[in-house]
Symmetry: C2
Subunit: 718 residues, 2 copies
């Protein structure tokens, strides 16, 4: 069921309603009344008759009219009974304020499971427990108790009441933008992050979504939804709990698994989410995205009056991946006509004192800049808004007029302006006018830079969006009968992994390279197999009881003559028996010796938060040293596979280096897509490890392939 | 001459004094009068009699009393004449406001040279040109014209007037700390950054030095001075102009060479400077360092009320290299006695609502924490200061009392507290009280974290400081007669580089490894040389006319038999003549073939800003791919050499990897120190390139050694 009747409820019952002013059960009713909630309000308390002038009910099920939402302010142990009663009434949703659930050990976790089960049984959707509540700013359904929350177009989802308070306070004192909804997600016991996203995506009052996250219960579903949502509305997220101490802090108060690995970061960004690391930048980023058109060409002009600020801004924007293109001749000529001699018109554009007597020159320059197709947006830094303070009061009107013109330019040209002003603290009217026109103004240079950079980042994402990319597995559809047989046999034999030759067969089945090899059971068979192959061969023991083959002499390299092959076969068998006399030996694998090439690593793993992920990087003996590996959440599209290959630090190694030819990127891409399909086709796979993959100018070889199976996986649902 | 009479001048003449209110020549006299400058003020203008009640002089030389400082507000072209006149009077210093010098092309640069020469001739020290001026807040010598600059203990040196204005404004509205001096460094034509450092180091009113830098004219002298200064007082620096667009911006208004390479960053940090990258953190960092004791054990306790803030702070502090140790049992027990059930006492310490009715619990907890030897300082985050706003007005006094106690604790225990408060914007009195006790309060979490982290960074630097490290070369002292001969010959032969065998001899002379090799001039001599060596040999052409030896067959590897050696000699000669029939062939070098080992690179270069620097990293074919190289400014101490080796990303390669033995770090360290000494001993060296250096379990080999000479260097001053 959708969240329409929960977040847009037209009637609210407050369980635990109270006459005591210090109680949440009093404050929440008072807030609903004071703020003019548009629906019905029902206090519920068996001991009271009337609260704040409203008739009081003994229990929710006694209320005669329809009840969509219930706010429960009573302690944890009372919740199961109250929910059962709500079930009788058929309520749509309940906010559970109380803590003492999943965040507090085993007993709490059990109680949480119990209330989720009860709610499910009655079709009630739960917010919390352990939440500060929710707010719908449009209908004035304020179930949090915070006053003076500014109304606007940002939907806020927070996993910390303090951070919500911080963000709301910041909006109130620094911005003209505000909120459409606030959701304290609490323990995320029932309604998950992704369900809120789906709701806000369709909500007409919401233009951007702001999230503070410490841990997430279903990262994969969230990514799938975010991927849809960011096509329509920007999502800005700060995910904390990266460090050990941060995890400790998060775990002790949300009960969720925290952690912000590189995997998570790249997964969020791939889903189009703007990931923020500095909490000072969080509200400004979403404010800007909710207020201004995004930048389509990643290019910004910096306008300044004097140095310093522009130098810092240029450095910061460069760090943030924004281009600061040199202005063309035409534009420079127009700017020169406006500015004093000595002004710099290249970019950053330095007014060089030209605004001291006429700050309107800011608007003049911005007009020229925004009309240059090379310029995606303008960042104005320095003193604008304060010329009347610094130089002459009479400039106040000039600055206000310039602000009007800048506001209209944004509308007319459809490109953004962001302003940094040293005088923001003094709250001059001209800067407030800019805000009225949706132009954000910051007193921090770095925040102003970040703010315009997210317009570029989001614009870049939307431009590169490819509708054919999907985060949903085509599980089973392409699964091959033969593939299932391989896994079934391994499963029946209680193996924890496929044999190498089985893994290689599977890769071939799913469109990867075909590998030449033969399983043999005697030295003669080995020689026969080797004779059918070109060049020297390698022989490897095949046994589930021998994990580290090389340690027991189980791998013999570079064999050519019959004598070598027989000796190798004997050595392998002796080594195996010597290591484990009862080892179940499945045979010996004969393969052509692989030529030298660039050693890479390709594999898949299961991530705690996001499920299957794929890795690609430099392999062989260098893998541990270089740690040059890229991860992505599976499945991947062709484009993502290509980007993974380009993303490793040592990408030059792939391009042909010091006389070596470039490697076959097409074959590598194919191999990544093959693994993506294999993992999507067989739920039993825990991990795939191809190391090294040897890449050549044409094609590639896989020297060793391991596919591990999940433990205790049930195969009946295949 | 020192800067005493410049920065602490007791008399000031203003050249270009004016009666017009909009003129700088009026404003500066007005400011000096209004702010109560303690010395004499002399207006200078041939056309006026009296300005602002003061008698006006035709020229500086006419003034009867002593004149220490002159503020010159007239245009660039008037400066030479004015300085000549000042010279007659014997003034100590002059501030030149006018632009139009080094920042404006060739003519400007020439004019700048001219005025510097005039000043030098008369013993006048120049500030600027192209500066906003200077201020001495103690004597009220305000030659900038800015009003309301808060007085305090920070000396500010800025290369941008806007940034100075930003920092001064920030101090005025957000802090109780202020400035002892302000210096607008301008074009740094005469007085250099390092001279100001030396002055502020001894100034009793200055506790910390704050620098905004875009470019620097003598980086090496600056480092040498900073190295001395940071032992006594912290230096905080933001150096912008890293990016291409940032350099463009900086170059267009300071005329100095900008650039913030990794070399610069590591050089500044090695000299004990706190390098800041985010301008929002600049003032807070210096404010904190000027106000609080530093942290000796890099460990901080985070105190919070509720999650979110603490999680973010824990992440950020971890990123900043600060430890957040788990509290010991004893401390946890004491904290538990103060806090409600469910509070977390590990670290971060979460009050968990325990302050809602009694915010004094903050002081209680901090008292416990600061007395724990494991805790170097406390970062309190969240709502402190706002409990009276959020919960009950009556808590105002409780918070104020807690603030008093926290202030006294800092004094008594000698450990710092830094506070983040969401309610800082409301300016509650309790937070102002904290500032009174030198406890800084920030509304940005990230800024609060950075602020306490610099106390840890500076404390760590002071603890690790080693008085034996010197930045001064012992040039010439150790220079060996034989070494000079080598260079002299190369110089006499107009060579741009030493021959490989000369370079290797030089390394041996200065304490590095001795290399076995022989220069031969016939195949027979080659065989004789090879016979005296163990194992196969390598032969290389020695000719200054052949740069890329391998390209012309000039390097022959792995030679054992007489036939091989003769054939190799012939091949080398044929290749050389084929390439360049007139090539001056100096001979053929015979060396033992080097065993395989780990390939490293060691070398030195000349940096534009800092002079000679040394590099160390992974070498051979991997060098370009891995870009895993560390740089340091020369000379280096033993400790720095050791740290460089530990600092490369792939340091595990050195530790013995996959069965390879660890390499001989002692020999590597020795080699780095040898290069440091060589570069210090011969000014003629432009660059040294040892690549690859092959490191073994015991000892190392240098496969190729190149020492390039400076062009046009004069050798007479040897």
């Amino acid at each position: 069921m959708g969240l329409e009747h929960v977040l847009n409820a037209t009637s609210v019952a407050v369980v635990g309603a109270s006459k005591k002013e210090t109680k949440r059960g009093y404050q929440s009713i008072k807030t609903l009344l004071d703020q003019g909630f548009e629906g019905r309000i029902y206090p519920v308390n068996p001991k009271e008759k009337i609260i704040l002038g409203l008739p009081c009910y003994k229990q929710v099920s006694e209320i005669e009219g329809p009840v969509e939402m219930v706010l429960i302010t009573t302690p944890a142990k009372t919740i199961p009974g109250i929910l059962e009663d709500c079930g009788k009434k058929g309520v749509a949703g309940a906010v559970i304020i109380a803590g003492g659930f999943g965040e507090l050990g085993k007993a709490g976790k059990d109680l949480e499971k119990e209330i989720v089960a009860i709610a499910k049984g009655h079709g009630i959707r739960l917010i919390g427990p352990n939440t500060s509540g929710i707010m719908n700013l449009e209908s004035h359904m304020n179930l949090v108790g915070l006053k003076d929350v500014p109304k606007g177009h940002i939907a806020l989802i927070s996993q910390s009441g303090n951070m919500a308070l911080t963000l709301i306070t910041e909006a109130a004192i620094k911005s003209r933008q505000g909120f459409s909804y606030y959701v304290g997600i609490g323990n995320e016991a029932d309604i998950k992050f992704h369900e809120y996203l789906a709701f806000f995506q369709e909500d007409p009052n919401t233009r951007a979504i702001l999230m503070y996250v410490e841990g997430m219960r279903d990262g994969r579903r969230f990514l799938q939804q975010a991927y849809q949502t960011t096509r329509k509305k920007p999502i800005v997220m700060l995910k904390s709990g990266r460090s050990a101490a941060g995890k400790l802090s998060a775990g002790s108060h949300t009960g969720a698994l925290a952690g912000m690995s590189e995997v998570a970061r790249s997964a969020f960004q791939r889903a189009g989410i703007i990931v923020i690391e500095d909490s000072d930048e969080l509200f400004p980023a979403v404010e800007t995205l909710a207020s201004l058109p995004h930048i389509k060409n990643q290019s910004v002009a910096i306008l300044t009056d004097g140095g310093g600020h522009a130098t810092i801004a240029a450095d910061k924007l460069t760090d943030l991946g924004v281009n600061i293109p040199l202005m063309g001749e035409k534009t420079q000529k127009k700017l020169k006509a406006l500015l004093p001699v000595g002004a710099s018109t290249r970019n950053p554009i330095d007014i060089a004192g030209g605004a001291d007597e006429n700050p309107a020159v800011f608007a003049d320059c911005i007009e020229v800049l925004l009309h240059d197709p090379q310029v995606g947006g303008v960042l104005a830094v320095g003193l604008f808004g304060g010329y009347n303070i610094r130089f002459s009061e009479s400039l106040e009107f000039v600055e206000e007029d310039a602000a009007h013109r800048m506001g209209k330019l944004v509308k007319d040209v459809g490109k953004p302006i962001v302003v940094h002003s040293l005088y923001n603290y003094a709250r001059p009217h001209s800067l407030d006018l800019l805000r009225y026109y949706n132009i954000p103004v910051y007193d921090s240079l770095e925040v102003a830079c970040k703010s315009i950079s997210v317009l570029s980042e989001y614009g870049d994402y939307l431009c590169g969006y490819n509708a054919n990319q999907k985060f949903v597995f085509s599980a089973g559809q392409k699964a091959n009968l033969r593939g299932r047989e391989i896994f079934k046999r391994a499963h029946a034999e209680h193996r924890s992994a496929l044999f190498e030759y089985e893994a290689k067969e599977l890769i071939g089945l799913h469109g990867g390279p075909h590998f030449e090899n033969r399983l043999v059971h005697s030295a003669d068979e080995a020689f026969a197999a080797a004779s059918s192959m070109e060049g020297p061969v390698v022989m490897k023991i095949v046994s589930q009881d021998i994990l580290h083959k090389t340690d027991v002499g189980g791998v013999q390299l570079n064999l050519t003559t019959k004598a070598e092959i027989i000796a190798a076969y004997d050595a392998i068998m002796k080594g195996a028996v010597g290591y484990n006399a009862t080892a179940d030996i499945h045979g010996v694998l004969v393969e052509p010796m692989m030529k030298q090439g660039l050693e890479l690593i390709v594999g898949t793993k299961m991530d705690d938060q996001f499920g299957p992920i794929i890795m690609f990087g430099i392999g062989g003996t260098l893998v541990e040293i270089l740690k040059d590996v890229v991860f992505r959440v599976l499945p991947i599209s062709e484009r993502t596979a290509r980007r993974m290959i380009d993303k490793i630090r040592s990408v030059e190694l792939l391009n042909g280096f010091r006389g070596h030819p470039p490697v076959d990127r097409k074959a590598l891409k194919k191999l990544l897509l093959t693994l993506s399909e294999i993992v999507g086709s067989y739920k039993i796979i825990q991990e795939i490890d191809l190391n090294p993959v040897i890449a050549y100018e044409k094609g590639l070889a896989v020297a060793d392939a391991r596919i591990l199976l999940k433990k205790g996986e049930d195969f009946t649902d295949w």
